[in-house]
């Protein structure tokens, strides 16, 4: 397997000063302390100048002198040391998130620094105002505050000013408009007051507002970056490569991304088709379950078309690539997705809804205050001062923190439970669900077939099969290897299209089809979808029944979901004979089989029309439109890329429990968000009348704003604890991407 040439030029960066750099991700390193060993091992290789593991992101950067080492030698060296690494390409989106995080952090640093120093001066003025401060000292402090506050706000306020400007240009009032207005007015009024030798200045309020708001933004941004990096890691772990046939007939392993239409690729048994393609030569059967949900294999020969992601069961296929890239579509799936996605884009986030009501209300209140005071006989200066203090004190500090803080804490909890949110509003959408629709193949069932008759199989034969299957690339053998524990027999050899053979002592051991093992066919068939392998050691033999098996906790999870009041149904593209037993086992009454993507959408639309809020859980290409059409959607990590892209969240591992976990976390989070919005409303209900009446001083503004923000943030921390009755989430840590959770190991 190391004999082929591999082309990593796609991933390697440089050379910079004669150094080539490559980013790697490891598939089996869970202990954070192993990095020391990995770095040492990598540095021991000749030519390697730098090896540094980033434990936070689970990645490593290696750099070597051009010509003295190569990507292949580094990877092989690490593999020999027991660390299977995959090259990784930092995606553009990831770099953008990183820049944004560091920009926000810089803004936060500047705003906090300025807020702390200005507060120091403000406290002196406040205490001085009630004791014996001289007007000269006060003016000095105010001018000093202005000197700090104006440049700091100009720098740290940029994210808000920019967003408010963009919103206004699009004729929309977003949350950043009242924020920007409040800050600018507070600063402007303070400068005027300072110039007029006034007693009150709001420099500290403006800066504290900025610092609190930036804190919320930073938290939100860090979570988003974390999600993006995790998605990049998952994509790299899938390690999708293809065997490209070069013009001279040699084979080279290239990443799927560099394939072009017209390229010829070789797909061996046990590998997945790297792109939509047409068969040039060879014949085989293909497992297209990730694409159509259908578990029965389809035979293909020269001229047949092949979808990206189909698993080659038997012989070698030579394919010509038709359309490279992830977007491989069937039944006009793309058009369906687009139409289905439109309906969902109308969703408005809770915070946006709040700001839509909030901004006009606050601005009207401020204007009314100014007019009211003038009518009541106050001077224009005093009336404007009061109006501006209304704007400052109602500046949506707590409101802006209310949703993001909860989101960050809840997303962190889900992250640890192995659920990655794809979109920021996923939590809110998940929270509104009352009906759950599952796909069968790969969602309710495990992505690989499992050994069903383990207990009926004699121990010795089972062990022999476990040893033999390690020498085969056939998907069934790979699946068998994943659920048994064996040792490689060095004398074993694979006979293509038949099975594996080994001579142990005087005995001939074989694993494969019935004919290959000299066993009369038939008599062992259990279910229509089952595949049977045979193992033979000398005279003894046994059948091994391999079939799609339910995820281990599927029954328990569905029972839990039903007990929590969710309606559960199954929509599958598979045959009725395959769906019926699964539905019976899970005691789901509402199931339908043999559905095409358009049928699934129609079924979902019917449910939505009946007033249900539907969560779709699916993994196949045929589920992608349904995932886009549902009110919310989840995909297992083994899902095809297109399905994952449509899902609101992706869950890891072999368990189904993350679905229930995600739902209960989302409900809890939505409850806390509403609670927080409620707190913000209460705060405004108390503070705004005081401001309108003209009782607010900078001191009261500072206390009220920081108090409400801290209250809201503390309340959000409650999202961390699982809600009552929630399952524990500790047993599926996000970092352990077990190999068995991955579809199709890379060659």
């Amino acid at each position: 397997m190391m004999a082929e040439d591999r082309d990593f030029s796609h991933f390697v960066r440089g050379p910079v000063d004669g150094l080539l750099t490559l980013d790697l991700i490891f598939e089996n390193v869970d202990c954070a302390a192993c990095f020391n060993d990995i770095e040492e091992k990598a540095l021991a290789l000749r030519g390697v100048e730098l090896a540094r593991v980033n434990v936070t992101w689970g990645r490593m950067t290696v750099a070597w002198r051009e010509g003295e080492a190569s990507a292949a030698t580094v990877l092989d060296h690490l593999a020999r040391c027991g660390y299977r690494a995959h090259p990784l390409q930092a995606q553009n989106a990831e770099l953008i998130e990183r820049d944004r995080t560091s920009q926000l952090l810089r803004c936060l640093a500047v705003a906090s620094f300025a807020a702390m120093n200005v507060m120091l001066l403000s406290v002196s003025v406040w205490s001085g105002n009630v004791t014996d401060i001289t007007p000269e000292t006060r003016d000095f402090f105010h001018w000093l505050s202005a000197l700090i506050a104006l440049p700091a706000a100009a720098y740290a306020g940029q994210p808000f000013f920019h967003s408010a400007f963009m919103g206004l240009r699009a004729r929309r009032v977003n949350m950043d408009v009242p924020i920007s207005l409040g800050i600018l007015l507070a600063l402007g009024m303070s400068v005027v007051e300072t110039a007029l030798h006034g007693e009150q200045a709001y420099f500290d309020s403006a800066l504290m507002l900025l610092a609190f708001l930036l804190l919320g933004r930073v938290l939100e941004q860090i979570m988003r970056q974390k999600t993006r990096v995790a998605a990049g890691n998952i994509a790299a772990l899938k390690g999708r490569t293809a065997h490209r046939i070069q013009p001279d007939g040699s084979l080279i392993v290239v990443p799927v991304d560099v394939l072009a239409p017209g390229d010829e690729v070789l797909v061996r048994a046990g590998e997945r088709a790297p792109a939509d393609a047409v068969v040039i030569s060879g014949a085989s059967t293909l497992d297209e379950s990730v694409i159509t949900g259908e578990t029965n294999p389809r035979s293909v020969s020269a001229g047949s078309s092949v979808h990206a992601g189909s698993l080659n069961f038997a012989g070698q296929l030579r394919l010509r690539v038709l359309k490279p890239g992830a977007a491989s579509l069937i039944d006009d799936v793309a058009a369906l997705i687009e139409r289905a996605g439109e309906a969902r884009s109308h969703y408005r986030r809770l915070a946006d809804q709040a700001s839509q009501i909030y901004a006009p209300m606050v601005h009207t209140a401020a204007a009314a205050t100014a007019i009211g005071w003038i009518i009541a006989g106050a001077s224009v200066h005093d009336a404007l001062m009061t109006a501006i203090s209304v704007l400052i004190i109602t500046c949506p500090c707590a409101l802006a923190l209310a949703a993001p803080t909860v989101q960050v804490v809840a997303a962190g909890r889900l992250f640890r439970a192995g659920v990655f949110l794809n979109t920021p509003e996923a939590l809110e959408r998940l929270a509104g669900i009352n009906t759950i629709v599952f796909d069968k193949t790969g969602t309710l069932t495990l992505p690989r077939p499992q050994l069903l008759n383990r207990s009926q199989t004699p121990e010795a034969l089972l062990q022999a099969a476990a040893n033999l299957c390690l020498s085969s690339r056939h998907p069934l053998a790979v699946a068998l290897a994943a659920c048994t524990r064996g040792e490689v027999l060095t004398q074993a050899r694979e006979i293509s299209g038949a099975g594996v053979e080994a001579f142990v002592g005087a005995e001939r051991w074989r694993l494969g089809s019935a004919a290959f093992c000299d066993i009369p066919e038939g008599g062992h068939r259990e279910a229509a979808s089952a595949s049977i392998l045979y193992v033979r050691c000398g005279e003894a033999f046994a059948p091994l029944v391999m079939d799609q098996m339910l995820r281990h906790d599927a029954v328990a999870t569905l029972a839990r979901l039903r007990s929590e009041g969710f309606a559960v149904s199954i929509l599958s593209g598979d045959h009725e004979s395959a769906v019926r037993p699964v539905a019976a086992q899970l005691s789901v009454d509402d199931w339908r089989a043999g559905l095409k993507p358009a049928d699934k959408i129609a079924a979902l639309e019917a449910m939505k029309a009946a007033g249900k809020r539907v969560l779709m859980v699916g993994d196949g290409l045929n589920d992608a439109p349904a995932l886009a059409a549902a009110d919310a959607s989840l995909s297992p990590m083994s899902a095809v890329d297109l399905a994952q892209a449509q899902a609101d969240a992706v869950f890891l591992g072999e368990r189904l429990a993350p679905v229930a976990e995600a739902l209960s976390a989302a409900r809890h989070a939505r409850w806390l968000m509403r609670e927080n919005l409620g707190l913000a409303v209460v705060y405004n209900a108390i503070a705004a009348p005081l401001a309108i009446a003209g009782y607010v001083t900078p001191l009261i503004a500072a206390l009220a704003m920081s108090g409400s923000s801290i209250l809201v943030t503390l309340n959000a921390l409650r999202a961390r604890a699982p809600s009552a009755g929630g399952a524990t989430s500790a047993d599926a840590p996000a970092s352990s991407l077990s190999p068995s959770a991955r579809p199709g190991a890379s060659p």
């Binding site: 954070a32 990095f35 040492e40 434990v55 936070t56 560091s102 640093a109 000093l144």
Partner: protein, 49 residues
């Protein structure tokens, strides 16, 4: 109270040094791998050289 005229700016200057130290650390990638740093402090490999 005249002492304030140079003491307050002095305090500000000290604060600014802290701010610049943070921005330098951020740009220098000191926050890239916080988790790793907590393990690296325990390794003794720098003593062997």
């Amino acid at each position: 109270m005249n002492v304030l005229v140079f003491l307050v700016p002095l305090a500000l200057f000290l604060g600014l040094i802290g701010l610049f130290a943070f921005v330098w650390a951020l740009r220098n990638g000191q926050y890239e791998d916080v988790k790793g740093a907590s393990h690296r402090i325990l390794s003794d490999d720098d003593l062997l050289k």
